[in-house]
Amino acid sequence: MDLKSLTIDGARSAVQRRETTALALAEAHYARIQQEDGQIGAFLTLSKERALEQADRIDRMAAEGKTLPPLGGVPVGIKDVMSTRGVRTTAGSKILENYIPPYDCTAVARMEAAGAMVLGKMNCDEFAMGSSNENSAYHPVRNPSDLSRVPGGSSGGSAAAVAAAMAVAALGSDTGGSIRQPASFCGVVGLMPTYGRVSRYGLIAFASSLDRIGPLTKTVKDAAIVLRTIAGRDPMDSTSAGVPVDDYVAELDKPVRGMKLGVAKEYFGDGLDEEVRQAVQAAIDKLKGLGCEIVPVSLPHTPYAIPTYYLIATAEASSNLARYDGVRYSHRARGVKTLSEMYRRSRDEGFGAEVKRRILLGTYALSAGYYDAYYLKAQRVRTLLTRDFDEAFRKVDAIVTPTSPTAAFRLGERSNDPLAMYLADIYTVTADLAGIPGISVPCGETREKLPIGLQILGKHFEEATILRLAQAYEQASQ
């Protein structure tokens, strides 16, 4: 079986028709992980026992002639910021090196209830803080398209595993671009749903007003299948929305003719790589050829998005990460004499440089005397950024942009300059701040054969619209 082209429906129907078994699919993927992952580094922990138990369940269903659930027998990876009962969950951090969650993340539980086999936990930047996966406390992930380059981040392991066919699909999380940017760098599809669309219960918190879970997949249809599986109200997350879940798969094939697509000049300015610009422009032309109307829109506050994001995200992170104190779980320093020394030394030893940097920045932004100037100011600008989108979406159904200003950069290229690294998220953070959904779909390659991503942004809870456009583009570009 060709694992590279294996999709969710392909895997499920092959198991259903008994052309293969879930066990064989799981083992084929583990064999590929064994063969490939030594050089890529996408997995942090394998959960073989759990995957094979699920395989057995699915194979028995297939043998009994029962209809398999939508992800029946589909091998998936889970970003290591999502809790998995009994399976080590590190968030890419040394501070959680030995943490075994006592419960499952809702999104993971829903994937498994729909038949998915969880192969293992995917590498990521520590606490999802990073744009290159170089901030993992364990090891970096390398881009399957070019091993000297980063896979993007923070869901770098999830994106690389899908790109290298070590998993059919993966879950990632997006706080500032962490699903869409690595999807773009690795040449896969990455969907960030509307804030509140997918429960965050069991997702290790980074910035709670921004964090979202979503799929990384080989095709747009697969992203729609996963979203349909994980979306919907969860009593365990009071911010999860009661908004009805659309049948994203059924909506995919509706026509895109006559849809209005916004193009904002703010996403095509300085810093955009010329090859990326050309590829995205060609994609826009293709959508126009499919009958979409291209409408210029303005999102004037875009230049303020990165500073706004880094104040809000770090402030929330400094608060969320206060829980790692070495008492109930997480690393505890040895040989400490007092409680206060234990807190400080445990955190010093457990957190990496970028996490400390963000905790300090966030604490500073929240501290007496600076709260109004930094944190509150950023929250007000967040309103302005969101109003930009409200205004634009009065005129258009979706907005198309590049996902990232460049294709994948080299390992080490930006790791000594935090600000340069932050700018990798310049086209993605706006959607995180506004709470709207966004998808990255592959739109060609650079001359060096590095993947490029087209980003499509939609209105709150209109994932069906951006999925439909992404699929129309995907089919037209094949």
Partner: protein, 112 residues
């Protein structure tokens, strides 16, 4: 506004981080560079702009209603609907670096 070494030390203390001399110097440089970049927000007049604390405000509030009714979609009955039971004691202690059968164990609590 320029961050000083003293500020870094103060903020590190608030955040329960100790940091080596070397780390502190690096953080000083990075914080100043990031905060200088962030300064551009002051170009915007936001005196009449409300703060946005969370996205849920945007789709969960019904402004045509009064008082608590505005948040009707977020209110639930005060019952255990969907909420799982508390963790068994043993499981809750299982990840602790140090615990006995009953409690988390920590070093003596003494003011620095």
């Amino acid at each position: 506004m320029k961050v000083t070494d003293k500020d870094v030390a103060y903020v590190a203390e608030l955040a329960n981080l100790e940091l080596t001399e070397e780390e502190r110097a690096g953080m000083l440089r990075d914080l100043n560079s990031i905060l200088q970049y962030v300064e551009r927000l002051s170009e915007l007049d936001t005196s009449n702009v409300p703060a946005m604390a969370q996205v849920s405000d945007r789709y969960r509030v019904d402004d045509s209603k009064q008082g608590n009714e505005r948040f009707a979609s977020t209110i639930r009955e005060d019952v255990l609907e969907g909420l799982r039971k508390s963790l068994p004691h043993r499981e809750a202690l299982a990840n602790a670096p140090d615990a006995d059968e009953e409690f988390f164990r920590v070093p003596k609590v003494i003011e620095r």
